[in-house]
């Protein structure tokens, strides 16, 4: 394998590719914690100058984690499509930024380029981009997926309805589902984080969602976010599994710490596809990621947290997911300290995922020990809406009482759709109209004295 020469800019020297990438990264607490961040602002920009001169081709020969000992590296290298890469193969990272912003980078061109890009190329170019660049380019990347509805069409915004309850109480979960549906949420997925990861608990919750979906003929999909092995188990017992969930990360070591292998993901995808429960498409996987996850498992292999995160999208991409969700502020201030760092990370993750051809959504969120508040979330939510994010999260009142953090609310999603003129997934929007939840102007204005609403309320009360 080719060793990269040291990289230089003026008086600064960077010994290898992963160092120049780490030092070029916008400041965040996780890279400081890992001892990888630039020592000064000047060194940070010097690293960007050095990174701008690196040929994209070098990422194909200079693996950040050796091919021999990391299956994510093998997945990236073995899956690379040289024909798709051809159009940008002679460019440096700096040229690549220029190209992405140019008129040559049309939505069609970006779509056919995606299989030719590796996460390291995408992470590298993101480090040279301002927030507006990340937004402008991501907006040109359309990644459309389907199951019982179509997610990711330009001009649309879907919402994961997240009706969590600390004890998985069915009536409590049902109450939050009703609240979400009445606010027009739930087209990305109705997805529950179970308090208990067991096959029995998973089956009970799946049946709960499936019952309301069938009864009211809701064109959406369900998911219980248990471990992939639990999902494989319940599929074998004929439970109504639409989407299989798993948290994933960008190194083999980090995935080990999650108790998963790539083979498990492949097995789960095949099993879920085999159930043939999708109607308009058959994307059956739902992945979650987040910067800092690998470092927190001491499995980052000396790579900066944003680059490791982009590598997780290469894992996701291999299993044709319906949804990929970066849970950007959940991890805490030792990785992303404040609203500014969370905002930057959210935009980077969305950009990197979309450029790689991954259907990105974002859990715009924070914990109470981070230096952030609802105003910061409003800002990131709005920026992601402008950037064409596929979906966001909807939690009653933004307060997840099971996971103890603040995400976005059903109201936040209504604000975003209405302010930016974004629509729910088309099949779901039609259902919302039929139920008198959205009006002729597309606004969420539920008519609750009608028969449709009464049916919903009756179901929820009975659950």
């Amino acid at each position: 394998m080719q060793q990269s020469a040291p990289f230089h800019f003026e008086r600064f020297t960077f010994p290898d590719l992963k160092t120049v990438m780490a030092k070029a990264s916008p400041l965040r607490s996780g890279d400081v914690l890992a001892g990888l961040a630039a020592g000064s602002d000047e060194e940070r920009v010097a690293a960007r100058f050095a990174l701008a001169d690196v040929p994209l081709k070098q990422f194909l020969s200079d693996a950040l984690i050796p091919y021999e000992r990391d299956d994510v590296t093998r997945l990236i290298m073995d899956g690379h499509d040289p024909d798709a890469f051809d159009v940008v193969s002679s460019l440096t990272v700096g040229d690549f930024r220029n190209w992405l912003l140019s008129d040559a980078a049309t939505p069609e061109a970006l779509k056919s380029l995606a299989p030719g890009l590796t996460p390291e190329m995408v992470a590298a170019v993101s480090k040279l981009m301002r927030n507006q660049d990340l937004i402008a380019v991501a907006k040109k990347c359309h990644v459309v997926t389907g199951f019982r509805n179509t997610v990711g069409l330009p001009g649309h915004l879907s919402v994961r309805l997240q009706p969590n309850h600390p004890t998985d109480d069915p009536a409590g979960v049902a109450a939050s589902i009703l609240d979400g549906l009445m606010h027009g949420s739930g087209d990305a997925v109705i997805g529950i984080n179970p308090a208990t990861d067991s096959p029995e608990a998973m089956i009970e919750l799946l049946n709960l969602i499936d019952e309301v979906r069938e009864r009211l003929d809701i064109p959406t999909q369900s998911c219980v976010l248990a471990h992939v092995t639990t999902a494989i188990d319940v599929m074998a017992r004929n439970a109504p599994v639409d989407l299989v969930f798993q948290s994933i990360a960008g190194t083999q070591k980090a995935n080990d710490s999650f108790g998963i292998t790539l083979a498990m993901l492949a097995e789960a995808e095949e099993a879920a596809k085999g159930l043939k429960r999708g109607t308009v498409g058959n994307n059956v996987m739902y992945f979650e990621t987040g910067q800092g996850a690998a470092l927190s498992a001491d499995a980052h292999e000396g790579i900066d947290q944003q680059t490791v995160e982009a590598r997780a999208y290469a894992v996701a991409r291999a299993y044709s997911p319906l949804l990929v969700n970066t849970v950007v502020g959940f991890i805490g201030p030792e990785y992303l300290f404040d609203g500014k760092q969370i905002t930057r990370a959210g935009l980077e993750d969305h950009f990197c995922g979309k450029l790689l051809g991954v259907p990105m959504g974002c859990d715009v969120c924070y914990t109470n020990h981070a230096k952030a508040d609802q105003d910061d979330m409003d800002n990131l939510l709005t920026l992601l809406g402008v950037a064409g994010c596929n979906f966001v999260i909807g939690v009653p009142g933004a307060d997840d009482i099971m996971l103890n953090y603040q995400s976005t609310s059903f109201h936040d999603a209504m604000y975003l759709r209405s302010t930016l003129g974004l629509e729910p997934a088309p099949e779901f929007a039609e259902w919302l109209r039929k139920m008198d939840i959205i009006d002729q102007n597309g606004r969420t204005r539920p008519q609750l004295d009608g028969q449709a609403a009464q049916n919903l309320l009756a179901w929820s009360g009975a659950a």
């Binding site: 049902a174 109450a175 939050s176 914990t367 009653p396 603040q406 609310s409 109201h411 209504m414």
Partner: protein
Amino acid sequence: MADLKPTNIADTTRKNIHSDLDPWNALRVHTDARIGLGRVGDGLPTERLLEFQMAHARARDSVHMDFDASIVRKKLTDYDGKIVDVHSAAPDRATYLQRPDLGRLLDDPSRDILRSYKGDYDVVFILADGLSARATHDQAADTALNILGHLGDDWTVAPIILAEQSRVGLGDEIGAALGAKLTVMLIGERPGLSSADSLGAYLTWGPKPGRSNADRNCVSNIRPAGLDPKKAAKKIAYLMLEARKLGLSGVALKDNSSNPALIDT
């Protein structure tokens, strides 16, 4: 005001939240989730907005509240053993929040102090601020005294340690420095929006630097509106007896009542 018609169930205002007209009342008994908040256009009604801000403000204040060891000492006046103050290597809150590794190490003066108390103890209780000094101020002394009340005379108890800018892992160095077989760390948990005063208890058999969460048992959500300190003390005392009997803690030691998720503080 058309959006606020009481017949419209998504348009609940505070005025009718407790009235029979509000169909959400039947659902609210099942969950503490913020359902049926009503709306003004696409936004939150003013009262709902301010309620959220107050909950967040309380949680934030708990995270940033200075730990006041004298508050805890005062509540321990009936305790006749020694009480010793220590500080982690994180000098202030901002550093503490960004460098969890420093919160798991003692500073040099604390290391020297503990050396002079080295002995052969069955257990050391560590009352630590963690991510909510408020939880420690309110809950820790009460919980510790109740646990002590459940223990027999055959327990040799080390001086009670009051630890500032502390993570759970700090107990490993403290326990090892003192020569304790078991640490019981009572530490402020990361505040939730509606639980700014929640204390966690972590039990670690054979404390030494490098222990992981899998080596510990946790009793979570100790607060008057959650797991009452008296009930928590009973549960912790039970776990202590089991740990001593088996000579271990962590995943191999089953609680037999519940096993709340470990919280990374």
